[in-house]
């Protein structure tokens, strides 16, 4: 008797049903496990808080530091009912992931950095929590608090840490070229002179680099892409101060003492400036920030610090920042999230970040600075002087979400200058020609914002 063989139709039918069952079972919720017998209630249930942070960046805390912070938080009163689960995201992927979850409203973390202004409409208003707990926001550096944390008459987060860009200079290269070390009040014209004197293209030694488009060096001339109230382009984008700024860039780009754009592209890391060129001793002046102190020292460069060179009659300008940490409005655990937020960005958290071994973190709470391990270090004193005595251009630019789009209008002109494809005398004409395009961007963006 022949054994029963599976016919082709039956085989196909069986395969189809198996595949469909597998697909459908993947889409269905697992069956609920039987309800556990609850023990006698003596403790409140624990709420899990999903906290997104950036991994691999010392300034935000290494994984060991974060573990230590979480252990410390657990010892406190909130630690008995709040369980913080950190998710480490790469620096360059954080923004895209946050944009996606905020846009879809699904998978939103409970606490995260809110460093893109377009996210702020979806940030929770924490004013109520601050008032309820009598949380002292006055403990923070008020310039940064006012600059970052308020949106549409709401408080949308708290500032974590401080940073600013300023110039590092290679003392050895300056000495070899017979250039005096710069002091407070260092002028832009003097800087150009020094850069040209130091630069030696044959040896690939550069005095400085061409500053990025609309970097603080532009604003140092008093240049602005539009008026103080953000409405008018004519007379500002093509005004005498902006023309002077672009002409200065032209003089620098054509001096032969700066790296080419190709070289800068190759050697730039982290998007924060020509770190590699400076650390290899080939760049005399580099615009870096306070987190680079240790790295540059370890590279063996004997360096000094100076502010963004200044132009007569204008303020000393810097680009300063702090990181806004907040609670997305879509979070369903705001109470628990607030407990972590106020601890993390408050004195306990920032203190731990500051004191962790090898940390380059600067707290945004002035009262903690006296305990900073490097508070007597001349470099850190210089950094604090920058923060306290110079104008942070972000205080103005942060008021205008559309400023990036307006600044971008000048990108072709900037390229032409860097590539040597324009005469110095034609710069004013080019800026005049860009005014209508920039004004259009301003008008459209302000209309979209309801301004």
């Amino acid at each position: 008797m022949k054994p029963n063989k599976l016919s082709r139709r039956d085989f196909l039918r069986l395969s189809a049903l198996t595949a469909a069952s597998a697909a459908l079972s993947g889409c269905t919720k697992p069956p609920a496990s039987p309800e556990p017998v609850e023990p006698a209630a003596t403790t409140p249930s624990v709420t899990e808080v999903d906290w997104w942070t950036v991994g691999g960046v010392e300034e935000f805390g290494t994984e060991e530091t974060v573990e230590a912070m979480l252990a410390e938080f657990e010892k406190g009163p909130a630690g008995s009912w709040v369980d913080v689960k950190p998710t480490f995201l790469p620096d360059d992927g954080f923004s895209e992931k946050m944009t996606t979850v905020i846009g879809t409203g699904s998978g939103v973390p409970d606490v995260a950095f809110l460093w893109i202004s377009e996210w702020l409409p979806q940030a929770a208003d924490i004013t109520e929590y601050i008032e309820r707990d009598d949380f002292d926001v006055g403990m923070f550096n008020q310039r940064y608090f006012d600059m970052l944390c308020c949106y549409d008459d709401k408080i949308v987060g708290l500032p974590l840490g401080l940073g600013a860009n300023f110039y590092f200079y290679n003392k050895t290269l300056l000495e070899e070229a017979g250039v005096d070390f710069p002091e407070w009040g260092y002028a832009m014209d003097q800087w150009l002179e020094d850069v040209i004197k130091i630069g030696d293209p044959d040896k690939k030694i550069y005095g400085g680099r061409v500053p990025g488009l609309w970097s603080p060096n532009f604003y140092a001339f008093g240049a602005r892409p539009f008026s103080e109230d953000g409405t008018t382009v004519e007379g500002y984008l093509n005004g005498p101060k902006t023309v002077k700024a672009f002409e200065f860039i032209y003089d620098l780009a054509t001096s032969g003492a700066v790296p080419t754009s190709a070289e800068m592209e190759m050697l730039r890391t982290e998007g924060t400036g020509p770190v590699d060129l400076f650390m290899s001793g080939r760049l005399a002046f580099a615009q870096l920030n306070n987190s680079h102190f240790k790295r540059v020292e370890e590279a063996g460069v004997d360096y000094g610090l100076v502010h963004t060179p200044t132009v007569g009659g204008e303020q000393i300008i810097h680009n300063g920042w702090s990181l806004l940490v907040g609670i997305p409005a879509a979070s369903e655990k705001k109470d628990a999230a607030w407990e972590w937020l106020k601890w993390y960005v408050g004195e306990p958290g920032q203190s731990l970040l500051m004191l962790s071994p090898g940390s380059t973190f600067i707290p945004s709470i002035p009262a903690l600075l006296q305990d900073h391990p490097n508070s007597e270090d001349e470099r850190y004193k210089f950094f604090f002087k920058i923060l306290n005595e110079t104008y942070l251009i972000n205080e103005w630019t942060n008021r205008f979400p559309y400023i990036g789009k307006v600044q971008r209008v000048c990108s072709d002109l900037y390229d032409k200058i860097y590539l040597g494809e324009i005469a110095r005398g034609d710069i004013k004409g080019e800026l005049d020609a860009l005014v209508s395009q920039a004004q259009k961007v301003v008008d459209e963006e302000r209309a979209a914002l309801g301004l």
Binding site: A16, A23, E118, S261
Partner: protein
């Protein structure tokens, strides 16, 4: 439809249901969603607002960057496609030779296809560095002053073309499969009749390869319109907007300017453009594609 046929159809759909679910969720659904979004003003973090055709009107009537991006993309396609087709066929003819080690060559030429776009872009950035890159160093040794490549407005777009052509091995392998389907008896018969190498190429190889060429032309055309990685990693659309590809413009609009509605409209426009070009190729195929099984006359 009788009961048996109906049951068979149902069983068929059940069989493909996993794929169908994936298609609906990951392809058809987003397609429909992006089409609807293209009629809205959606800044991601606030609810979409219906604006009708205003995105499309703005694109065609008021967006200089749209036309700049289209111009760069069309120029690239016009430069890249003929070179890719020619080099692909030429390489496949070489790889079709029966010589020792030919399999090693086939592997080597195919390798660029499997490498990640970002790492390849970074590698090319180093190779084409005008100051000390490999390309200009080799040219310099021949007494030729190399160009500025990605950093020269006149050479930036050709540099992207060059980078794309480096992956011609993928096309060559497809053509190789087509070549190996051509019956050797045709060549034998032609040789007996006194046909030389070029005659055989022109009258046997190319005509019988046209179905493969047609397939590759369609695939490469669609790919060429979607160049993004090299621009994103290396040039950022510059210098002077010379590599301001459409896909980069779309990405910038969506993920840097957060203008999702407008970006969706841009996406649909390029989708329609690609479909039109593809339809043109399909329509023209009757004139130049020969299928061996076709009955002529």
């Amino acid at each position: 439809m009788n009961r048996l046929r109906r049951r068979e159809a149902i069983e068929g759909y059940i069989g493909i249901s996993p794929w169908l679910a994936g298609f609906l969720v990951f392809t058809a659904g987003p397609l429909v969603a992006s089409f609807v979004l293209s009629f809205t003003d959606w800044q991601i973090t606030v609810a979409p607002r219906w604006v009708g055709l205003s995105n499309y009107v703005r694109i065609f009537a008021d967006d200089a960057e749209f036309y700049a991006a289209l111009k760069v993309t069309f120029t690239y396609v016009a430069m890249f496609l003929p070179l890719d087709l020619t080099m692909g066929i030429g390489l496949s003819l070489l790889l079709n030779q029966k010589i020792p080690g030919i399999k090693v060559f086939r592997t080597v030429f195919y390798l660029p296809v499997v490498l990640s776009g970002v790492s390849v872009s970074l590698m090319w950035m180093w190779v084409l560095n005008p100051d000390w890159g490999l390309a200009n160093t080799l040219l310099g040794s021949l007494g030729i002053q190399g160009p500025g490549w990605y950093w020269d407005p006149d050479w930036a777009l050709p540099s992207v073309v060059l980078m794309g052509l480096w992956r011609v091995g993928g096309s060559a392998i497809i053509y190789l499969a087509g070549l190996q389907n051509i019956s050797p008896q045709l060549y034998e018969a032609a040789t007996i009749d006194g046909a030389g190498i070029w005659t055989r190429l022109w009258n046997i190889t190319l005509p019988l390869l046209t179905p493969t060429i047609f397939f590759q032309l369609v695939m490469e055309l669609i790919d060429a319109f979607q160049v993004f990685t090299a621009v994103y990693v290396i040039t950022g659309g510059g210098p002077l907007h010379r590599t301001f590809f459409y896909m980069y413009y779309l990405y910038r609009t969506a993920f840097q300017d957060f203008d999702m509605g407008y970006a969706s409209a841009l996406a649909w426009i390029i989708g329609v453009i690609i479909m039109l070009f593809t339809a043109l190729v399909f329509k023209s195929s009757a004139l130049w594609v020969y299928y061996e099984s076709e009955v002529q006359g």
